[in-house]
Point group: C2
Chain length 415, copies 2
Amino acid sequence: MSEVIEKGKRAKVASFTMMERTTEEKNAALCAIAAQLLQDEAHILQENERDLIEGKEKGIDSAVLDRIMLNHDRLVAIHDALLQVVELQDPIGEILEVIDKENGLHIEKRRVPLGVIGMIYEARPNVTVDAAALTLKTGNAVILRGSSSAKYSNQVLVESIHRALEKTTIPQDAVLLIEDTSRQTASELFTMKEYLDVLIPRGSKALIDTVVANSTVPVLETGAGNCHIYIDEVANPQMTTQIVLNAKTQRTSVCNAAESLLIHRKYVEIHGEELIQVLLDADVTLYGDEAICNMDSRIYSATDEDYATEYLAMSLSIKTVDSVDEAIQHIQKYGTKHSEAIVTELQDNAKRFQQLVDAAAVYHNASTRFTDGFEFGYGAEIGISTQKLHARGPMGLPALTSEKYYIDGAGQIRQ
Amino acid sequence: MSEVIEKGKRAKVASFTMMERTTEEKNAALCAIAAQLLQDEAHILQENERDLIEGKEKGIDSAVLDRIMLNHDRLVAIHDALLQVVELQDPIGEILEVIDKENGLHIEKRRVPLGVIGMIYEARPNVTVDAAALTLKTGNAVILRGSSSAKYSNQVLVESIHRALEKTTIPQDAVLLIEDTSRQTASELFTMKEYLDVLIPRGSKALIDTVVANSTVPVLETGAGNCHIYIDEVANPQMTTQIVLNAKTQRTSVCNAAESLLIHRKYVEIHGEELIQVLLDADVTLYGDEAICNMDSRIYSATDEDYATEYLAMSLSIKTVDSVDEAIQHIQKYGTKHSEAIVTELQDNAKRFQQLVDAAAVYHNASTRFTDGFEFGYGAEIGISTQKLHARGPMGLPALTSEKYYIDGAGQIRQ
């Protein structure tokens, strides 16, 4: 039996035990894991160092190595994040609907765990603990399939988790790591419908696309953000500049950063030059259409590819449009259903934009950077869903749950 | 451009128009379609006759031909079903959550249409109208891919729908039929992620399995029901017999009918013979383990395959178990996550069974036959979901919707 199938079976068995665990038991386990990680610090950092050394030898990019790197502060941050999950409300058991039928049947729709969650992710050891914490809090079992570049770190972290769970009522098999990080094990997870209830890919667009294209297990898709800001005919210029600067430059590597600007021709004529200068002064590389390029020789001519690109960098594409509808159509074509914004003083245009733009979050007069589980007040975030089934936008703990009808009768039969 | 891609594009455009349509406009369209179908009765029945003649020539099974057949009464039933959908509450626009942040951001999570729904279904012309009605009511566009055995009927019905929509504000492209019923067009739908938001297969297990295995478009899975009734150690024998008879024999061809009986050894010893006789008297073919077979020579010996089979007929597999936990484990192995029941006077066992059995609907002292959108009071049913994401159990109109965050600000930027 392959490692994946064998661990799939064990996780499935553990998931049934998890269904019975109370909030107190799950929180006790989270606290135990947090404490154990700090206790095991020396060993964890030692194993993490092995990943870093092998990574350097293999010539892995320094930005990736930095994501893999653990130190005392980062371990404390992981510890603190665990304790934050303890504080979150347990969604399991919540009664979502009560139906009392005339025949006396009492029907309750309750929130229940999903079962076994498969997590496929890139080289970030903190995701190992984070995923374990969120799935455990929601009464699920998890199968972790991390990157080969973080294999020693992932192994030592899961060993710590197991040591902690040994002292609790939570089965160790509720958190299992696939140690073989070959492509083969990822492929096995894609189709292991018998033991996996959902697969969550976390990482690059390429990783997510591979999982979506090949998986027969249902996928919770967290996607890319080619986010637009549309500046309407009548918009407060000071507010506009602030929002654009914030959405583009406050943090460029995140999925809710703005990547493309659509500006109404009339706004371009009056306030365009000023906005362009502010962006150039902030060292943003601009790719514009003809009307925009004419304003400054430092602006590059935008191609279709620019409009389709999530730069994740200090770059921005710009297009002049003649109406809110043209802006909406452009977003329909190039958007990734993540976060989109309109800046306008015209309420009807704001309403039309919010209704017709097909995205998880549609802003009026605010920065796209707010699309985030913590900013929305959900306390934790599994990711930002760009799919339209099950969960959309920032996913908190309820995204890791399912529902079940409990029906109580006194011998009712159907007529 | 292939028919599927071309219609995908048109449906996508229509889906944006649908986002703006009010409940009144959608209901007016449903009424117009209902009236048009009766007006076009002669032509519809004539085209339906062509399907029946071709079907007979091809030697299609008479049960299938009966499902294809339309007549005055069935057309009136389709008409009436449309008017019932008019009466249902429109879920679109419902505000699911309101978050007011300290920084003044006002966040509303609202129910919105999914977009374009692809429906792949077998030879039932009524599904053509039913699917159009439910998707239209929820503000979606639909692409219908029916069976070649009902192609003339489907075409004439969609022509009628288009004639009706012409007089309304709903675009004709909101309901499109794929006329080429070759395998190729189904395959194209499986991967048309650009224009399809969800695929819903309706029909046999084989059809559903094919869609799930091959689709990269998210699927709403309506599955098979290998439903169990577990009779516990202490159960009211009269209630037990009624529930078992009802769940097995009231209607055998449906997914919520019972297919397997698990009986506690102590109940078998005291009341087993009586129950078995009642079932045999009702002409139910029984497949039992040794303890059951010993009771009557007419009982066949049950194989593993029997326990895994959804008979959809007057057949029932029976197994003796020693505890509620053994029953739960058997259901974990053979169940299809549809509907499961326990008959017991022991509240703790009922609670344990309901908590640990992983199914959409878990009954205590009632027949599994109640798992149904109409019985639950949802008024319409797209199907019964046996998946755990998005929707579980009987799916009413909300299963055909997604969510969107509307965020209103006054220039807020992220710190």
